[in-house]
C-alpha cells in the first residue's frame, strides 16, 4: 500500500509547496477546468464576505506597498535638493543660479538644478523631510497591517473550506454503496481522500492570497513606473518578456527531465520494493549480485536524469538574477544620465530601482502559483468526482425487526448479479432455523461470499426475498438488518489502536471483564497476555506486529463480544490452526446456544459439524444435508472430502 499513493512532496506544506525545487510529479491535467473551477467557487460561497473583505485588504496593502518607495524617493529628492542648494551662494533665486552656472559653462549642472526644487544657499529642509518620512512610515505600517489581516482572514477561509470539504468527503463515504468500494482500487480512493485534499488545502492556503497580491502588485508597480518615467518603464519592461522567455524555454526542457526523473524513480522503487519483499528468495536463489547490478544501472540512470533536471531548473534562478542585474545597471546608468539632464529626479531613480526589483519577484511567484493552481485544480476535480459518485439507494422503512429477533433467516428464490450480463446467483433458496448452523462450501467463484454480501445488505438483491424472522430485509433500515448479524471475515480488519479497543469495537461501552471473556472464548487471551503491553498493546498501521492467525482470533473475539443473533463466519479461521479452531468452535457452541450461524470455509474440517452443509456451485445449491448424509450421497461433497485422503503415490502410478 505504501507505494500506491502519490509520492510524498518534498516541498512540504506551507513552504512553497510542490514543485518548489521542481521535484514534484508533473501536474496532472484537469479534464474540465471550467466545471471544476465552478465547483470550487461554489464551495467558497459561504466565505464570500471574507473573500470580498480580503480583496479590499489586498488592494489596500498592495497600493500602500507600491506607493512606499515613491514616497522614499521624494524624501531623497528633498535631501538631494538640499545638497544642491547648499552648494549655491545664498541670496540668489534659482533662476539666477542657473543662469550663473550656464555662464560658467557648467550646463549640465545647470540642467540638473533647473529640474530640481532648489533654494540656493539652503540645506536640507528637515521639516519637509520629516513630514514625508512620517508619511512613508505610516504607509509602510499600514501596508504591513493590511497584509497581516489579509493573510489572517485567508488562512481562516482556506482552512474552513478544507475542513468542510474533508467532512463532506467523509460523510459521502458513509453514503456510498459497497459496490463503489469494491469496484475502485483502494489506492486510488485513498489518494483522493488524502493526498488530493492535502493538495487542495495547500493551493487554497498559499495560492489564493499570493495570486491575488502578485497580480495586483504587478499592475500597481507597472502603473507607478509608467507614472514616474515612461522611458525608464519601457527599459525596465524589456527584461520582463526576456525573463519569461528564459523561464519558459528552460522550464520546457527541464520539465522533460523531471518527467524522466519521475519515471526512473518509479522504476528504481519498483526494483527496490521487489528485491526487498522477495529478500529471502533473492538470497537463496543466488540473485544478490544480479539485484545489485540492476539497481546500480537504474540508479545511474536516475542520477543522470535528476542531474539534468536539477541543473536545467537551476539555471532559471541565476538567469533571472542576471537579467535583474542588467536591469539594475541599465536603470542606474540611464537614470543617472536622466537626472543630470534634469528629466527626472534622483529620488525617482532610487524609487525606480526598487520598483524594478519588486517587479520580477511577483512574476516568478505568479508562475509558481499557476503551477500550484494547476495541480490543485486536478486534485479538486478528482475529489469532486468522488463527491458526485452515485449513492446508496435510500432505505424504505415500512416495517421493523423485533427487538429480540429469533434468528430465523430465509432466502427465497434469490437472484443476484454484480454485472448486468453475468447472472451470478439464480433462484437460491435456503432456510436457517433459529439456533442452527449452516455451512456453505463450494469452489472459488461459486458465490459463497456473495451470499454474505446479500445477507448483510451490502448489496441489494435483484430478485426473490431475504427475510429475518419473516420480515423482508428490504422493508427495514440497513442498520436494523445489520444489528441482527455479527460478521467475521477472512481479511481480519483491525484499526490502529489497542487490542482492547479493537475487541470492544463489537460493543460500545463494554467492560474489561466482557472483553477478556470474549478474548478467552476466542482463544486469544493467552497470546494477548504474552505481548509486552497485554490488552493495551497498540496494533500498528497494518497490524503487522501480530500474525494473520492472531488477527483472526481478535476479530472473532470482537464478534463474540457483539453477541448478535446471527453469526456469519466467512473463512474466519482460515489462518488459525485446526486444533485451536476446534477449541474455538467448542467455546462458540457454549456461548451461542440457540443462536444461528452461517459458516463459510475452504477447510472441510471447519464445517463438518454443521447442522446443514450447503454445497454451492455457480450460484446454485447443488447439494444440501449433514456431513454424513452428504458422504452417503457420494456426490460433489464426497469427492471433495475424499480427495483429502488420497495417497499421492497411488494416484500417480
Amino acid at each position: 500500500m505504501a507505494q500506491r499513493g502519490a509520492p510524498a512532496r518534498p516541498g512540504g506544506r506551507g513552504f512553497g509547496g510542490p514543485g518548489m525545487f521542481g521535484m514534484g510529479p508533473p501536474p496532472a491535467k484537469t479534464k474540465d477546468v471550467g466545471k471544476t473551477l465552478r465547483q470550487l467557487v461554489a464551495r467558497l460561497r459561504p466565505e464570500r464576505m471574507a473573500i470580498v473583505v480580503s480583496a479590499v485588504l489586498a488592494l489596500g496593502s498592495v497600493a500602500f506597498s507600491v506607493i512606499g518607495p515613491k514616497i522614499i524617493g521624494n524624501a531623497i529628492n528633498v535631501i538631494f535638493d538640499g545638497v544642491l542648494g547648499k552648494g549655491l551662494p545664498a541670496g540668489l533665486t534659482k533662476a539666477q543660479a542657473v543662469a550663473q552656472l550656464r555662464a560658467h559653462g557648467q550646463g549640465q549642472i545647470a540642467d540638473l538644478i533647473a529640474g530640481a526644487n532648489v533654494v540656493p544657499g539652503h540645506g536640507i529642509d528637515f521639516t519637509v523631510l520629516g513630514q514625508i518620512l512620517v508619511l512613508a512610515a505610516l504607509v509602510y505600517l499600514l501596508s504591513a497591517a493590511l497584509q497581516w489581516l489579509l493573510a489572517y482572514i485567508m488562512a481562516g477561509v482556506a482552512q474552513r473550506t478544507v475542513f468542510h470539504l474533508r467532512g463532506d468527503v467523509e460523510a459521502k463515504m458513509a453514503r456510498l454503496p459497497l459496490k463503489y468500494f469494491d469496484s475502485h482500487p483502494h489506492g486510488d480512493l485513498l489518494s483522493r481522500v488524502t493526498n488530493d485534499i492535502d493538495n487542495i488545502s495547500t493551493t487554497l492556503q498559499q495560492g489564493m492570497t499570493q495570486i491575488l497580491t502578485s497580480t495586483l502588485t504587478i499592475v500597481g508597480v507597472l502603473a507607478v513606473m509608467v507614472w514616474i518615467s515612461p522611458l525608464l518603464a519601457v527599459v525596465a519592461l524589456i527584461t520582463v518578456p526576456l525573463s519569461i522567455l528564459v523561464t519558459v524555454l528552460v522550464a520546457r526542457r527541464s520539465q522533460k527531465q523531471f518527467a524522466a526523473q519521475w519515471a526512473r524513480t518509479g522504476t528504481l522503487n519498483g526494483h527496490v520494493e521487489q528485491m526487498h519483499t522477495g529478500h529471502a528468495l533473492v538470497q537463496v536463489f543466488g540473485r544478490r549480485q544480479k539485484a545489485i547490478d540492476e539497481f546500480n544501472q537504474q540508479n545511474q540512470a536516475l542520477y543522470e536524469a535528476s542531474f539534468r533536471a536539477q541543473f536545467l531548473s537551476g539555471i532559471i534562478q541565476p538567469a533571472i538574477a542576471f537579467l535583474g542585474n542588467v536591469n539594475y545597471v541599465v536603470i542606474a546608468a540611464l537614470g543617472g544620465y536622466l537626472v543630470t539632464s534634469g528629466a527626472i529626479t534622483l529620488g525617482d531613480v532610487q524609487a525606480f530601482i526598487q520598483y524594478s526589483r519588486q517587479f520580477t519577484m511577483p512574476i516568478t511567484q505568479l508562475a509558481g502559483q499557476l503551477n500550484l493552481l494547476q495541480s490543485g485544480l486536478a486534485s479538486a476535480e478528482r475529489v469532486f468526482e468522488f463527491l458526485d459518485a452515485e449513492e446508496e439507494v435510500r432505505d424504505r422503512v415500512v416495517s421493523s425487526l423485533p427487538a429480540e429477533p429469533q434468528g430465523q433467516v430465509a432466502l427465497e428464490h434469490v437472484a443476484f448479479r454484480y454485472e448486468p450480463e453475468k447472472p451470478l446467483i439464480t433462484d437460491f433458496s435456503l432456510e436457517a432455523k433459529p439456533g442452527s448452523t449452516i455451512a456453505i462450501v463450494g469452489p472459488t467463484g461459486a458465490g459463497k461470499t456473495t451470499i454474505v454480501n446479500l445477507l448483510m445488505r451490502f448489496y441489494e438483491i435483484d430478485g426473490g426475498r431475504i427475510s429475518v424472522d419473516g420480515v423482508d430485509t428490504r422493508d427495514v433500515s440497513r442498520d436494523d438488518v445489520r444489528r441482527v448479524f455479527g460478521m467475521v471475515l477472512q481479511d481480519a480488519w483491525l484499526f490502529t489502536g489497542t487490542i482492547r479497543d479493537n475487541i470492544a469495537y463489537g460493543k460500545l461501552g463494554s467492560t474489561t471483564d466482557e472483553i477478556v471473556a470474549a478474548a478467552q472464548a476466542a482463544h486469544a487471551d493467552h497470546f494477548i497476555r504474552t505481548l509486552p503491553e497485554g490488552y493495551d498493546t497498540v496494533l500498528n498501521d497494518d497490524a503487522s506486529n501480530i500474525s494473520a492467525g492472531q488477527k483472526q482470533l481478535l476479530t472473532i473475539a470482537r464478534a463474540f463480544l457483539a453477541d448478535r443473533t446471527v453469526l456469519i463466519l466467512d473463512e474466519a479461521t482460515s489462518s488459525v490452526d485446526t486444533r485451536t479452531e476446534v477449541l474455538i468452535q467448542q467455546a462458540m457452541a457454549r456461548l451461542r446456544q440457540g443462536r444461528t450461524s452461517f459458516v463459510i470455509a475452504h477447510r472441510l474440517s471447519t464445517i463438518r459439524n454443521a447442522d446443514t452443509i450447503v454445497v454451492v456451485d455457480q450460484g446454485r445449491i447443488v447439494e444440501q444435508g449433514s456431513h454424513t448424509e452428504l458422504l452417503a450421497r457420494h456426490g460433489f461433497y464426497d469427492t471433495l472430502y475424499q480427495s483429502q485422503f488420497t495417497d499421492p503415490l497411488a494416484e500417480a502410478s
Partner: protein, 579 residues
C-alpha cells in the same frame, strides 16, 4: 544533526573538489553582488551629483560586465552543485541498497520493507535537497549578510547603528517563529497522518464498520481529528501570516530611519548622497539574507531526521556473517541435521525452538506439523541460515551452516516460502529466477510437476505472459504453483516447502504431491503444513508443539504414540478418522 554531519562528511568526500569550486564561485558571486550598490553610489556621487555624464557611461559597462561574470559563475556553480547533490544521492542510495542485500531476516524484520523503501527514496531525497540548497543558497546567505554589514559599516559607521536595532529585531521575529512554528509543524504533520489513517481505515474496513453499525462512531472520530487538524493548521498559518509583514515592516522602518539620519549626515557634510542609496541597497541585502536563513532553518531538521534514518540502515551490521575460512561440503546430498538446536528471539521470555534434534536424508519426505506459533517456520528458516540458532548446530550437507559460504549453502536449496511472492516480468523470467539458463522444456516440465502447466498453457502468451508485481494478476493458488515450479526448475538437492499448499484445493494438492514425489525422489524434501491431508503420506512427520518435538514417525506410528498429533488429526478429519 550529528547524523547529518556524519553522513555528509563521508559521502561528500569524493566530491570535495567540486564542493570547493562551488563555494569559491559563490563567494565571488556574493562579493560581486555586494559591490554593485557601491558602483551605483559612485555613479551618483561622481556622475550625477557632479553632472559628469561621461563618468556614468564609463562605469555602466563595468557594471554590466560584472553582472555577466556573476551570471556565468552562477551557472557553473549550479552545474557542480547539481553534480554533487545528485551524485551524493546516488551514492547513498547505493550504499543503502547494498547494505540491505546483506541483511538477514532479522534485520529485514526490524526495519520492514516499506520503511526501507521510504528510506531509500524520500529520505535520500531530503538529504539531496538539503545539499543542493546548501550549495546554492546556504553559502550565500551568511556571506551576503556579513558582507552587507561590513559594507554598511564601511559606507557609514554611524548610520549602521540602525542595524543594531533592526537586525536583532528581525532575528527575534525569526527565532520566535521557529520556536513556536517548528513544533506546531511537527504536530501538524502528525495530525495529517492521523486523519489520513482514519480515512484509510474507513475505506479498508467499510464492511466491518457497517456490519457493526459504527458509521456514526467513525464519523465522530473523524470529526474530532478534522477539527483538531484544522485548529492546528489555522494556528500555524496565522503565525506565518504575522511573521512576514512584521519582517517587511522592520525592513521598511529601517529604510525610513536611514533616510532621516542619512539626511542629517549629508547635510552636515559627513556623507555623500550616493552613499545613502548604496546604504539602502545594503539594508535590502541584509534583509534578504536573513529571510534566506529563515527558509533554510526549515530544511535542516528535516534533512537531519532523514540522515539519521539513513545512517541507521547503513550502520546496521548484518547478524549473519560469512565464515572467515569457509568449508566446502564434500557430499551435496541435501542432508539436514539438527543437533540440539535452540532458537530464541532476543528479549523473548521463552525460546521459540527448544533442543531439537533430528536428521533428514536424501530421498525422504519429512513433514513438519504443529499449531500456530509452534515454531514450524522458524525451524525451516534456520536451514538456509535466515537466522542462526542460539544453541546447538544446524548442518546441511553434513557441514555446519555457519561454516559454509552463504552462496554455497543456498545453492543446494529450493525454497518455496509461505507468501508465494512473484516478481514483475514474464512467467519464464520468474521460473528462471532459480536457474538462469533453464531451457523451455525444463520450464514446462517444472510447470507440469507444479500442476501449473494447464493454466499457463491456457494463457495467450504462455511462458511469456506478464506477471504483475507480487503476482497480483494471478489467483493465490496459481501463485503458489508458480512459486513451486520456480523451485523445481532448480532441481535442488534440498526442497523447503513452507506451508505453500494452503491455497490449493485438495485435489490439486494431492496431484502435486504425487508428481513431486517422483520429481524429488533423489532429493531431501521438507514440507511444513497445516493440513493433515498434505502430510499424511510423508515418510516421516515431525510434530511440533510450543517449540518442542512431541512426536516423530509415520502417520500410523504417531497415531498410536503422539497425543498432540491425534488431536490435530481429529480436529481435521473428525473423530472417526482417529478411532
Amino acid at each position: 544533526m550529528g547524523g547529518l554531519i556524519r553522513l555528509l562528511r563521508s559521502y561528500l568526500r569524493p566530491y570535495m573538489g567540486e564542493v570547493v569550486v562551488v563555494v569559491i564561485l559563490l563567494l565571488i558571486q556574493s562579493i560581486a553582488n555586494l559591490y554593485l550598490p557601491n558602483l551605483t553610489a559612485d555613479i551618483i556621487n561622481n556622475g550625477v551629483a557632479k553632472g559628469d555624464i561621461g563618468y556614468i557611461w564609463r562605469i555602466g559597462p563595468v557594471m554590466l560586465a560584472l553582472t555577466v561574470v556573476v551570471g556565468i559563475l552562477a551557472i557553473i556553480g549550479v552545474y557542480y552543485a547539481s553534480r554533487v547533490s545528485m551524485g551524493l544521492g546516488r551514492d547513498v542510495r547505493r550504499a543503502v541498497f547494498e547494505r540491505v542485500q546483506q541483511f538477514s531476516a532479522r534485520e529485514m524484520n526490524r526495519f520492514g520493507t516499506p520503511s526501507l523503501i521510504t528510506r531509500n527514496t524520500n529520505d535520500v531525497q531530503q538529504v539531496q535537497i538539503f545539499v543542493q540548497l546548501a550549495l546554492t543558497l546556504m553559502v550565500i546567505a551568511p556571506i551576503m549578510g556579513i558582507g552587507g554589514v561590513i559594507l554598511a559599516l564601511r559606507t557609514n559607521a554611524r548610520l549602521s547603528a540602525i542595524l543594531i536595532v533592526a537586525v536583532p529585531l528581525m532575528v527575534g521575529v525569526i527565532v520566535t517563529l521557529t520556536i513556536f512554528a517548528v513544533p506546531l509543524f511537527q504536530s501538524l504533520q502528525v495530525k495529517i497522518d492521523r486523519i489520513n489513517q482514519v480515512m484509510r481505515e474507513q475505506i479498508t474496513g467499510v464492511r466491518v464498520i457497517r456490519a457493526f453499525n459504527r458509521t456514526e462512531h467513525e464519523q465522530d472520530r473523524f470529526q474530532t481529528a478534522n477539527a483538531d487538524l484544522t485548529g492546528t493548521a489555522l494556528r500555524v498559518n496565522r503565525m506565518f501570516a504575522l511573521a512576514l509583514p512584521a519582517l517587511l515592516a522592520i525592513m521598511n522602518m529601517s529604510s525610513v530611519a536611514v533616510v532621516w539620519f542619512g539626511g542629517h549626515l549629508i547635510d552636515s557634510g559627513q556623507m555623500p548622497v550616493g552613499n545613502l542609496i548604496a546604504f539602502l541597497a545594503y539594508i535590502m541585502q541584509i534583509f534578504f539574507s536573513i529571510m534566506l536563513a529563515t527558509f533554510m532553518v526549515i530544511f535542516v531538521p528535516r534533512a537531519a531526521a532523514s540522515a539519521t534514518r539513513l545512517e541507521e540502515v547503513i550502520n546496521t551490521q548484518p547478524s549473519i556473517v560469512e565464515p572467515a575460512s569457509p568449508i566446502e561440503p564434500a557430499n551435496v546430498t541435501g542432508a539436514v541435521e539438527f543437533r540440539r538446536v535452540t532458537f530464541g528471539y532476543p528479549g523473548g521470555e521463552k525460546p521459540v525452538l527448544n533442543e531439537l534434534s533430528f536428521q533428514l536424508h536424501r530421498g525422504a519426505t519429512t513433514a513438519i506439523i504443529g499449531g500456530t506459533g509452534s515454531g514450524k517456520t522458524t525451524l525451516l528458516n534456520l536451514v538456509p541460515r535466515f537466522y542462526d540458532a542460539t544453541g546447538g548446530a544446524v548442518l546441511v550437507n553434513e557441514v555446519d551452516v555457519r561454516a559454509q559460504k552463504l552462496d554455497t549453502l543456498w545453492q543446494s536449496i529450493g525454497l518455496v516460502p509461505q507468501q508465494a511472492y512473484l516478481f514483475r516480468g514474464t512467467i519464464a523470467d520468474n521460473l528462471r529466477f532459480g536457474k538462469e539458463n533453464a531451457t523451455e522444456s525444463e520450464l514446462w516440465h517444472a510447470l507440469e510437476v507444479a500442476q501449473a502447466r494447464d493454466f499457463v498453457a491456457a494463457m495467450a502468451d504462455q511462458l511469456e505472459a506478464q506477471i504483475d508485481q507480487g503476482g497480483t494478476n494471478l489467483s493465490g493458488g496459481q501463485r503458489q504453483r508458480l512459486a513451486i515450479a520456480r523451485a523445481v526448475v532448480r532441481r535442488p538437492p534440498l526442497y523447503l516447502f513452507d506451508d505453500c499448499f494452503s491455497a490449493l484445493d485438495a485435489g490439486t494438492d494431492a496431484r502435486l504431491r504425487a508428481a513431486l514425489k517422483v520429481e524429488a525422489r533423489a532429493a531431501t524434501v521438507v514440507i511444513v503444513a497445516q493440513r493433515v491431508s498434505t502430510i499424511l503420506h510423508a515418510d516421516r512427520i515431525i510434530v511440533l508443539d510450543a517449540g518442542r518435538i512431541v512426536g516423530i514417525g509415520t502417520h500410523q506410528e504417531l497415531m498410536s504414540t503422539s497425543e498432540p498429533y491425534r488431536e490435530i488429526v481429529a480436529s481435521q478429519l473428525g473423530e472417526e478418522a482417529v478411532a
